[in-house]
């Protein structure tokens, strides 16, 4: 085998008194795709940051092409041809796509920027990724998947010898993921060493040549990926048998609808959306990215300007602000945990209780009660935090997501709208979350699950609403909930459900 382009030898890393990596050894070879998988908080991101010079190891060695290396800065790692795509977006939101793409390595002609050249190169890079976003768009106006594509384009532009990607597909659809994987294969064939994490094990199986599985900061399995099935991987990661990912569906609940939405318009994003939701029901919302699902439900929850009739228990209500939505028993969990979900610099406790703060306060806040709520949340959602008092930004991505889920449920909303519930969550925890959602429904709540993962929608939902270009393309129930049907509707290829015509 060729010499590894980049490797870790017995690397450990501590944050304060807590050691989160214990003697990790991993080798990335040119021309091979190496997948790193493990539970949330297993130490994948930390490993990747050490590999790419963002963090220094506490013990052990980083080797570049066999020789020990110490990166004093990211710049040095990049000079050695090592590029990391972070798990969280690393973009200057107020700058344009092109400005972000070339930040720190602008093309110049003399003293001035060569804007036409940068624009053209930016366009070419984005085209390689089939990303339609305009190069002059301000990044804050991009959808998450476009942002992710931009991150990937940034890495491509750097022409790395070692490309490290931390959950690049978490916010991508299957189609976009395929484009990405095609690019990864092309890079591999050109001799690049690629390291890749994902909680979507099918992708891992599809692309990985080598595989490393981590648990609790240590490597538990390492070798060629070829022999491993998804089931094997899940078991090695979680340390127990994972089967029956989705809980059994009880018979569809009857009864009067709790929530009825009629002709909801969210200007610029969605039009004439109508649906009903019963108690104890899980409604899946499927659609391609950009089909306006998020915006529809944000509009419903008073987070965006929206028009339309909303009835709760048959009574017409108006939701003009998130506070009103909360008062009516609507809870919404955002898909964008970093910029809209969590206060990254605040502690777990403060984040957990933010939405339901008045429950903990008479005149003053009862901190002890907050701590108890945090204990419960940590136990219930299996949140793994190094230090409880540290900022949430230090949690691993998956654990942040669990905390966010805990927060949304803390005010005990009657209607829970969850946008991408398991984005970045490992398979073991995912099972727990699905079970939890089902239990919530069984206890009489109504749940909406917006998800770009077809399997999730199919496995979890009692009924599925499919959206296409800002409109409801159709509704599926029971046996009709199949991948083929959803895709057909999502692509806008006719609607079998007569309800859809009525609305149009």
């Amino acid at each position: 085998m060729s010499t590894p382009a980049l490797e870790l030898a017995g690397v450990s890393r501590s944050f304060g008194p807590v050691e989160v990596l214990h003697g990790v050894t991993i080798a990335l070879r040119p021309g091979r795709v190496h997948a790193l998988i493990g539970e949330n908080g297993a130490g994948k991101s930390t490993t990747m940051k050490i590999l790419s010079g963002y963090l220094a190891p506490s013990r052990g060695e980083v080797r570049v092409a066999g020789a020990p290396a110490r990166f004093a800065s990211v710049r040095e790692a990049e000079a050695a041809g090592i590029v990391l795509i972070h798990q969280e977006f690393n973009l200057a939101e107020q700058l344009t796509v092109e400005q972000n793409l070339f930040l720190g390595r602008e093309i110049r002609r003399g003293w001035l920027l060569d804007k036409p050249a940068m624009r053209a190169r930016a366009r070419a890079l984005l085209d390689r990724l089939s990303c339609a976003a305009g190069v002059d768009r301000v990044v804050s106006t991009l959808s998450n998947s476009d942002k992710q594509m931009l991150e990937i384009a940034k890495a491509l532009a750097r022409e790395a010898r070692v490309l490290i990607m931390d959950e690049p597909t978490a916010v991508l659809t299957r189609a976009e993921t395929d484009i990405l994987l095609t690019q990864v294969r092309a890079l591999r064939d050109a001799g690049t060493a690629v390291l890749f994490t994902s909680h979507k094990l099918d992708e891992v199986r599809e692309i990985a040549d080598d595989l490393t599985i981590m648990r609790d900061g240590a490597v538990v399995w390492q070798g060629e990926a070829a022999g491993m099935s998804e089931h094997d991987m899940a078991e090695a990661m979680v340390g127990r048998e994972v089967s029956g990912l989705y809980p059994a569906k009880p018979p569809a609940p009857g009864g009067a609808p709790v929530l009825e939405v009629e002709g909801l318009d969210v200007p610029g994003h969605a039009e004439g959306v109508s649906f009903a939701l019963r108690a104890g029901e899980i409604l899946g919302v499927a659609g391609l990215i950009g089909s306006g699902r998020t915006e529809t439900f944000e509009g419903l929850c008073g987070l965006r300007p929206a028009r339309g009739r909303i009835r709760l228990d048959g009574r017409e209500v108006r939701v003009r602000s998130p506070a009103e939505a909360k008062a009516l028993g609507l809870g919404y969990l955002t898909e964008d945990r970093k910029t809209r979900g969590l206060l990254l610099t605040k502690s777990l406790r403060e984040n957990l209780t933010l939405t339901a703060l008045e429950r903990f306060a008479r005149l003053t806040i009862d901190t002890a009660a907050e701590e108890r709520a945090l204990d419960t949340a940590i136990a219930e959602f299996d949140i793994r935090a190094g230090a409880r008092n540290g900022p949430v930004g230090n949690l691993s991505g998956g654990n942040q997501q669990k905390l966010l889920l805990a927060r949304t449920l803390l005010p005990e909303p009657r209607i829970v709208i969850i946008d991408e519930p398991t984005r970045g969550i490992d398979i073991g925890t995912r099972q727990q979350i699905y079970r939890f959602i089902r239990e919530l429904a069984a206890s009489g709540r109504s749940i909406v699950v917006i998800s770009s993962e077809m399997q999730e929608v199919i496995g979890l939902a009692d009924r599925v609403l499919v959206m296409c270009r800002g409109r409801v393309a159709g509704e599926l129930e029971g046996e009709d909930i199949t991948e083929a049907q959803i895709v057909r509707l999502a692509m806008g290829l006719g609607a079998p459900a007569p309800a859809a015509e009525e609305m149009a």
Partner: protein, 332 residues
């Protein structure tokens, strides 16, 4: 935006310096003062310094909330001047009807509180409803109030009627057990402010909004209302400060409250509150206010430097006080 992500982390990693820093600066100043002049620690001087700190102090407590929630208010100094002017006009006008007495003083106090509330509300509405930068709104209202008081005073000074002033004066000079009213009111404001900041929903919401207003909004925090409330609270506290201020000299003019805004903001930041919002502490603000007052006091008690250079010393100490505090993160 820049420092928010790194700063609070530094707070955790090195709680010592950011907490001890301002206190240390204050202690150093006190030691210097005591060394330079034996009367420095006499109760008379301490009481003077505390009482005169009360105006800026009370305002700075309100400013702490505004800044924590990611706002700013440049208008407080001229707002104080305007309210003082208005209060004097109202009291003088009502004097013939009400006569010198408690009702008249209460009327004056009510005027100050209502005017403060209204002024804060106005700033807040423009900022939250029309979405204009707080800097611009309050820069504008700063000019407006300063102008209005000049106009009310016809360019000169508005003075409280002499008999009325004597009656009202105890509100500044009098007190309980040798502690004068401004000190008491200041202390009460600080204690309530500290409780509101640390143990009440309001303070938590301010920090959340200042830290990331999108997150706060998605967490069903009524951000417009909380922001508005911070300005209203600040306006109210400006009113309270004015109530203490007017009995001192019984007058208001265009130069009343000049640069109080800068002093209040400086106190807040010296105290460790983050200018970009997201983290605030009221007790720190108190330390900041005391540091600023003590500098002037010490400079007056000694004549080591040319009085022309007072401002330079003041400037240097402000910077030093913050260096002391941030030393830990120098490398960052």
């Amino acid at each position: 935006m820049s420092d928010t992500t790194t700063l609070p982390r530094a707070h955790r990693a090195l709680p010592s310096m950011t907490v001890i820093g301002p206190v240390l600066a204050l202690v150093l100043l006190v030691l210097i003062g005591a060394a330079l002049n034996p009367n420095f620690l006499a109760w008379a001087n301490v009481s003077n310094v505390l009482a005169r700190s009360a105006f800026i102090g009370i305002i700075a407590v309100g400013m702490t909330f505004v800044i924590t929630a990611g706002g700013l208010d440049l208008s407080v100094g001229s707002m104080a001047a305007f309210i003082a002017g208005l209060m004097i006009l109202v009291m003088n006008a009502a004097l013939p009807t009400l006569g010198v007495g408690v009702p008249l003083v209460l009327l004056g106090m009510a005027t100050a509180l209502v005017a403060g509330l209204a002024a804060g509300f106005l700033n807040g509405i423009l900022i939250t409803r029309l979405g204009i930068e707080a800097f611009i709104v309050t820069l504008g209202s700063m000019g407006i109030y300063r102008s209005l008081v000049t106009w009310l005073a016809d360019g000169g000074t508005l003075s409280l009627d002499f008999t009325l002033r004597s009656f009202y004066q105890p509100v500044y000079y009098g007190g309980v057990l040798g502690v004068s009213w401004p000190i008491i009111v200041f202390a009460v404001t600080v204690v309530l402010g500290e409780i509101a900041m640390r143990r009440m929903v309001f303070g938590r919401h301010c920090a959340a909004i200042g830290s990331n207003d999108q997150v706060a909004r998605y967490s069903s925090v009524n951000i417009a209302r909380v922001r508005l409330m911070t300005y209203v609270l600040l306006g109210l506290l400006v009113g309270v400060a004015t109530i203490m201020y007017v009995p001192r000299l019984g007058s208001a003019s265009a130069s009343t409250g000049l640069l109080w805004e800068l002093e209040a903001i400086a106190a807040v930041i010296i105290g460790g509150t983050v200018l970009r919002g997201g983290f605030g502490r009221v007790w720190g603000t108190v330390i900041g206010v005391l540091i600023l007052s003590l500098i002037g006091n010490i400079l007056n008690l000694t004549d080591l430097v040319s009085p022309y250079l007072n401002g330079a010393i003041q400037g240097a100490i402000i910077i030093l006080a913050v260096i002391l505090q941030r030393e830990g993160k120098a490398g960052a």
